[in-house]
């Protein structure tokens, strides 16, 4: 069920831009945001609820520093999955708590991988254990594991 992209007004764009920024840590943060946007607090709240209901707003939550809460290791597992198995395999990967993102992607010239899963864990060993478990359940052994060795950037989208 894929709805078409909503036609956004200029106002929507500025509201979305503001909501993607850090929320002020005050008693009535939406009032503070609304006054910056030049709208009423109630109107802002209504828009937020609309965006959420329409599936535009995915989540209004905290982005945590993985490393500081002990999840020091992340692995990107790249799978060369037969086309016919992609849907089932994607579902299996998504069911793992340690998998935060899972996408089917286009292959590139000289690049055979078409299914990608991001795995977060407290150790490399734990990441590898998850990859092995996925590999068993999807019966796919053609996998490449890339650990991240440095984070250069992790920011919110500029809308």
């Amino acid at each position: 069920m894929r709805r078409p992209a909503r036609v956004l007004t200029q106002k929507d764009r500025s509201i979305i831009g503001a909501l993607a920024q850090d929320i002020p840590l005050v008693g009535r943060p939406f009032k503070a945001l609304a006054s910056k946007l030049g709208i009423e607090e109630q109107m802002l709240l209504e828009r937020i609820r609309d965006y959420k209901r329409e599936g535009l707003l995915r989540k209004y939550s905290a982005a945590l520093n993985h490393r500081k809460i002990g999840f020091r290791h992340n692995a990107m597992a790249l799978w060369n999955m037969p086309e016919k198995d992609i849907t089932e395999a994607g579902g299996i990967m998504a069911s793992f708590r340690e998998v935060s993102h899972c996408y089917a992607r286009k292959k590139a010239p000289g690049w055979k991988y078409n299914l990608y899963s991001m795995i977060h864990a407290k150790s490399r060993r734990e990441c590898l254990r998850v990859v092995r478990a996925i590999s068993r359940r999807t019966r796919c052994e053609d996998v490449k594991i890339l650990f991240s060795t440095k984070e250069y950037k992790k920011t919110a989208v500029v809308y």
């Binding site: 707003l57 500081k68 579902g91 996408y103 992607r105 992790k154 500029v158």
Partner: protein
């Protein structure tokens, strides 16, 4: 400090004294914060009630965890596709001695939201999000011209199976 939650529940006092580390209540706050906040005038109030602490105390802990960097930000994430935005993953092959410099240059593009070094022949992995495909192509084409980049692959998503970074806090 005269605080309702402190009176009600003594153990919390101890946690106030520990600065850098996560306290038991911090962990509960972080668990909760990985789900939607409330879309009401005073969003911290119902959340604090759930956690059995006061609104003021919750705000104090949030400020503390922002300061020490445990919380990067509390913000809304949108579905870029539903907003008409385009996105892709890309990977570049760069000589190991200059990968830091190249990464820094790439970070200059605000369209690049994530950028990681990974240990493989393609050693720089980044994601781009922009208003439309054209902007993505323009940035990609500009990056392709970097003499320091030996090879670049562009890997747009065809299908999303999961996007939900949630961490059990222990």
């Amino acid at each position: 400090m005269n605080h309702p939650s402190l009176k009600k529940n003594k153990p919390y006092r101890r946690h106030l004294l520990r600065d850098g580390k996560l306290t038991a209540i911090d962990k509960r706050i972080l668990e909760r914060l990985q789900q939607d906040i409330y879309f009401v005038e005073r969003p911290w109030k119902p959340m604090a009630r759930e956690l059995d602490i006061s609104e003021v105390f919750l705000l104090q802990r949030l400020c503390r965890m922002k300061e020490n960097g445990v919380i990067r930000r509390i913000s809304a994430t949108f579905n870029p596709a539903r907003l008409g935005f385009a996105s892709t993953l890309a990977a570049a092959k760069v000589a190991p001695e200059i990968v830091d410099q190249v990464a820094e240059r790439l970070n200059g593009y605000h369209e690049i939201t994530h950028n990681y070094r990974r240990d493989s022949e393609y050693n720089l992995w980044f994601t781009l999000v922009a208003r439309n495909r054209r902007v993505i192509s323009r940035v990609i084409n500009r990056i392709r011209q970097y003499r320091d980049i030996n090879s670049l692959i562009v890997l747009p998503a065809i299908r999303l199976f999961k996007i939900d970074a949630k961490f059990p806090i222990k």
